[in-house]
Amino acid sequence: MIEPTILDAKEIEINMGPQHPSTHGVLRVKLKIDGEKVRQAECIIGYLHRGVEKISENRNYFKCIPYYDRTDYIAAVSNGLGFILGVEKMAEIQVPERAQYIRIMMTELNRIASHLLWLATHALDIGAMTVFLYCFREREEILKLFEALFGARLTTHAFRIGGLWKDLPPGFVEAVKKFTDEFPARVDEYEQLLTKNRIWLDRTRGIGVISAAEAIEYGLSGPPLRGSGVPYDVRKLRPYGGYENFEFDVPVGKNGDTYDRYLVRIEEMLQSRRIVEQILQKLPSGPIRGKVPRVLKPAAGEYYSAVEGPRGELGYYIVSDGSTQPFRVRIRPPTFISLQVLDRLVRGHLIADVVAIIGTLDIVLGEIDR
């Protein structure tokens, strides 16, 4: 009798990650495969845990802000904004209009930068390297704007409680205008490379399909939810920080596959550009920082503030006990919740499609592990 070997096994368990380039960080996926077909995927996370929530319990509200840039480091501006809006809600701090407008402008530029990084790496995973280089070219322009205004490119520490650190530097509005004018032509270039390309279509169409009802059940938000046709956007439904003053559309997909999520994100970049253009047209003048007490002691209570980050609903649940430090901060990270759908999406697909599906969820491990 012949001993059964690994070749006779019906199911083989393999590891993908944590040091796999397409897992976008340190995600480990245990795949049960049958030949090339994936039967099951189990995500193992926690390799990048730094305890940001716990750190916040030992810092006062001003000191907490830089740490939130480091949760989702690709969208540091949105992350900081979410926490700051929560604290402002707690302490009832009024933000001047100019500061609000600049905040929205920078958050939308951050959304474009984040989606560009997503498109670049997603295309690179699937095999289109040129897109990667072109996207990083435009992202670089945005990072230069961040550097000029905030003083840092990635972990920006963008906003302060009550407003901004400093007003716009000279020449900044012109630089943003130059970017928004050029940007649609650049998006056309990406689309020329991808949207009708047969390889791209084969690799993305019908891959990782999720229906609208199921997406809601899983608690998805952001592009993974909108790709399935649900027009859920916190900016529209619960406007915060002045979003009600601007016109923009919420793009939705139809089939809920990887290709639709790609189209949704491309359209979102253009919509973000539209918001930035509106801000440039009616940027008010005035102070950039409201009145903030030197010792901030919000009244005891529980507060939730949610913003629409590039990856979905980014919530901050802050509990105050009336002292200068938060009693507890809980982040609702959008990609932590979209990652749990991975197992459902990859079943029955090939191993190469797992890479595409991880890419389309646009995960950031800094945010998942916190």
């Binding site: 810092r59 802000i65 830089p66 003083g151 840092a152 972990t155 530097p169 020329q192 009708k196």
Partner: protein, 168 residues
Amino acid sequence: MVNFLKRVFFVDVLAGLALTLKYTFHRVYTEQYPTEKPKLAERYRGAPRLNNDPETGETLCIACDLCAQVCPEDLIVVGSERDPDTRKKVLTTYTFDTSRCLFCGLCQEICPTNAIELTQDFELATYSRRNMVWDRTRLEQGWDRIDYGADRETASGRESSRYERKTG
């Protein structure tokens, strides 16, 4: 029919190739980093510096300890003693641990005299951990860091750099 012909003649792929071909004749975007130093924004938060009064040469720091209190990582230590004649606090030591610094800029924001400042200097790599803790002299004068050969001729009075010695 049109779609079929487009598919047969690889129109979708050729469109992409035409775009990449166009960029062959385009200006190169790459920055030649070690040889060409990038020009950073004025507000960039890099290496810390403790400023002296340009006229008298004395330190601007009044040892108020605000930077140490506002630092999220508690990495600034301000040492001071009280001058018996003037009854004022005088700065004695100042250490800044760059290995733990978040470069959030809260210290320079709160400083009432613009003494502590984060500069555009961003090359902070060093060979030992001990070198990352900056004392007062280094904060005031900058540090003799590794020169990667960008402007070797113009570097005033600097002997061959450590990098050169390492690579022979």
